[in-house]
């Protein structure tokens, strides 16, 4: 059973490449949302296993979107959230730690293996 994934990123270019790459690597990409409202609507319909959320969504912050996807009704619209960014993890370490995301992936490091590893061993649990 493949991991069902939602990508939340305002960079259409990156989202497309990421979707193609992850698809080839065996992850089922359900859709791409450019902003928080889109993400919540898609997640409510599709109930993804994981949402990849860009921290910097232009006007919005991905941290707030991550909270909207994880908090709220029925234990979260997405079963897990992974934050992604072109920034380095240490730039946002505190905000990532305070978020409900299971972990962080630099956009350049994105792969099905990395996602599976984080879902199996969430960085949050490791840190705790």
């Amino acid at each position: 059973m493949p991991i069902r994934c939602l990508i939340v990123d305002d960079s259409a270019q990156f989202a497309q490449v990421a979707a193609e790459l992850l698809g080839e690597e065996g992850i089922e990409v359900l859709g791409v949302a450019a902003g928080g409202d889109d993400a919540v609507r898609l997640a409510r319909d599709l109930r993804p296993d994981v949402a990849l959320v860009d921290i910097d969504l232009g006007e919005e912050t991905g941290l707030a979107v991550a909270r909207r996807l994880r908090d709220g009704e029925h234990g979260g619209l997405a079963r897990a959230v992974i934050l992604i960014s072109t920034h380095a993890e240490e730039e946002f370490a505190e905000l990532i730690a305070a978020s409900p995301a299971v972990g962080f992936l630099a956009k350049g490091e994105l792969s099905a293996d990395a996602i599976e590893a984080l879902l199996r061993h969430p960085a949050r649990e490791l840190a705790e």
Binding site: D10, S11, Q13, F14, V17, A18, E20, L21, E24, E25, I55, D56, G58, T61, L63, T86, H87, A88, E90, E91, F92, A93, E94, L95, K107, G108, L110, S111
Partner: protein, 506 residues
């Protein structure tokens, strides 16, 4: 003395006649009392009494009475009481003529003395008034030169003018573009600043507004009492007023109106008010150029920050996304290669690796231009992240996680960044501390280290740069850095003021 001077002024002839009659009566009394001259004791007592009477008259009634009384008493005593006696033959008209002449000369001399004395007194009062006026002007000028706010100057001008001109009310009024006026300062009645409503015809201020010149209204009875009450507070009965224009940078800014409830103000009021209006105009012009300067300084800083942030965003949204996307695309290609293409695969791996390095370099540049965490998380997380990157251990205490206006967050962040850089690079500190406090419309940032101290905020571009940045936002920066005792930086930034500042668009 004032009342007597006024009555004398009113009728010099009557006063002279009164002095003449009094002196003649004294002379006649002396002539009638001639039988007393047998006793030396009585004569001496009589002389003493006369001298005393003359002295009292000169003191209380002035030289106009003093001189003729003294003359008639002296002539009478010499003639009737000191041998050889000369009798006053009441049948001979020549005696009356001579006596009258003596007394007339006395009145004449007395009148001259009186006039001279009055002139001296008047000029002394004028000198005193002038000195008071100079002192008041000097106080206002000092205040202006010290860069006091216009509100302070309005209040002081209103107070000084009221006491100097002995007016009942003073009003500093600003004319608004819509034809109304605003009270900005005043004394003598309800003087809370606020709108006065339309400048209705008939008010002294209306004349000033219409003509641009000093105006005088000596009778306000033609104007509704409600209007007078609004413009002059609760002053009753109807005041007389003088209004003087305040001209700032060539255009009519407002007026000073001086009001009196005891009839018209003295003729020189206009001139004296005008001197104050000039000082007031300077104070207003100074304050407005200072405010313009401060605003333009703030705009320059904010525009600079916004340009940096825009630059960082463009890098992030453009180059960085594209670089990452290209790297991912190359990885896809690599995966699709058939098994025997090892050389190509290795070359692709190398390319992806170099691409990732390039991405990393761009990321570092972007981070230096504008720290993304400041936008995403605010000042407190940004300071903690800054502390993590510092080679010196830094303790960060933030008593508020609340988001602040962007210019304030950016300024505080750069202050802390500069201070921590100095602590590591120049001060050789072994630890540092950052404290962020919020309160009284201010943000306070306190950065201290245990390094070598001796930092001079007037040299070295780093500290000057952050001082400029802080002061541009209306804040203050204090640096204490005694040699060998570490460095302490205290920054206070106004939050409301920064939020009110116009944002530079684009």
């Amino acid at each position: 003395m004032g009342a007597r001077v006024r009555s004398w002024k009113a009728s010099p002839v009557a006063a002279g006649a009164a002095a003449f009659v009094t002196a003649a009566a004294v002379f006649a009394g002396m002539a009638v009392a001639v039988p007393l001259r047998g006793s030396t004791v009585l004569v001496v007592a009589w002389c003493v009494l006369c001298s005393g009477g003359v002295g009292v008259a000169a003191w209380r009634l002035g030289p106009l009475f003093g001189v003729p009384l003294a003359l008639s008493a002296a002539v009478a005593i010499d003639s009737f009481y000191i041998p050889p006696y000369r009798s006053f033959d009441s049948t001979d008209w020549v005696n009356y003529l001579v006596t009258a002449m003596y007394i007339a000369i006395g009145v004449f001399v007395g009148a001259i003395l009186e006039t001279t004395q009055r002139r001296a007194t008047t000029s002394e009062i004028a000198r005193g008034k002038l000195a008071d006026e100079q002192a008041a002007l000097r106080r206002v000028a000092t205040l202006v030169s010290q860069g006091a706010t216009p509100e302070e100057v309005f209040a002081v001008v209103a107070r000084e003018m009221r006491s100097l001109l002995r007016a009942d009310v003073t009003r500093v009024i600003r004319f608004e573009p819509d034809g109304t006026a605003t009270l900005v300062g005043g004394t003598g009645a309800d003087d809370r600043p606020g709108p006065l409503g339309p400048v209705e015809p008939g008010l002294a201020a209306a004349e000033v507004l219409r003509t641009g010149r000093t105006a005088r209204v000596d009778d306000y009875r033609g104007i509704s009492s409600e209007l007078v009450a609004r413009w002059f507070g609760a002053a009753r009965p109807w005041p007389a007023a003088v209004g003087s224009p305040v001209v700032v940078a060539g255009s009519l800014w407002g007026a000073i109106v001086v009001g009196s409830v005891n009839g018209p103000l003295p003729a020189e009021t206009e001139i004296r008010v005008a001197e104050f209006t000039e000082l007031l105009a300077i104070a207003i012009a100074n304050a407005s150029s200072r405010a313009e300067l401060a605003a333009s300084r703030a705009r320059v800083v904010v525009a600079g920050d916004q340009a940096r942030r825009r630059f960082e965003r463009n890098l992030h949204d453009g180059v960085q996304q594209r670089l990452v996307s290209v790297a991912l695309r190359l990885r896809r290609i690599q995966k699709r290669l058939p098994g025997e293409q090892d050389e190509v695969s290795a070359a692709l791996s190398q390319t992806v690796h170099e691409l990732n390095q390039a991405t990393e370099e761009v990321r570092e540049i972007a981070q230096g231009i504008h720290p993304a965490i400041l936008t995403q998380g605010g000042l407190a997380p940004a300071l903690r992240t800054l502390a993590l990157r510092s080679p010196v251990p830094v303790e960060v205490v933030a008593d508020s996680e609340e988001r602040l206006p962007e210019p304030v967050e950016v300024a505080a962040y750069y202050v802390a960044a500069e201070a921590l850089t100095n602590a590591a690079k120049h001060a050789g500190a072994s630890r540092a501390r950052v404290r962020l406090e919020r309160g009284d419309g201010l943000v306070r940032l306190h950065v201290s280290d245990d390094g070598v101290g001796g930092a001079d905020p007037s040299t070295g571009t780093g500290l000057i740069g952050i001082r400029d940045r802080v002061e541009a936002l209306g804040g203050s920066l204090e640096v204490r850095s005694p040699r060998g005792k570490g460095t302490v930086l205290d920054v206070a930034l106004p939050v409301a003021a920064a939020a009110d500042r116009p944002q530079v668009s684009g």
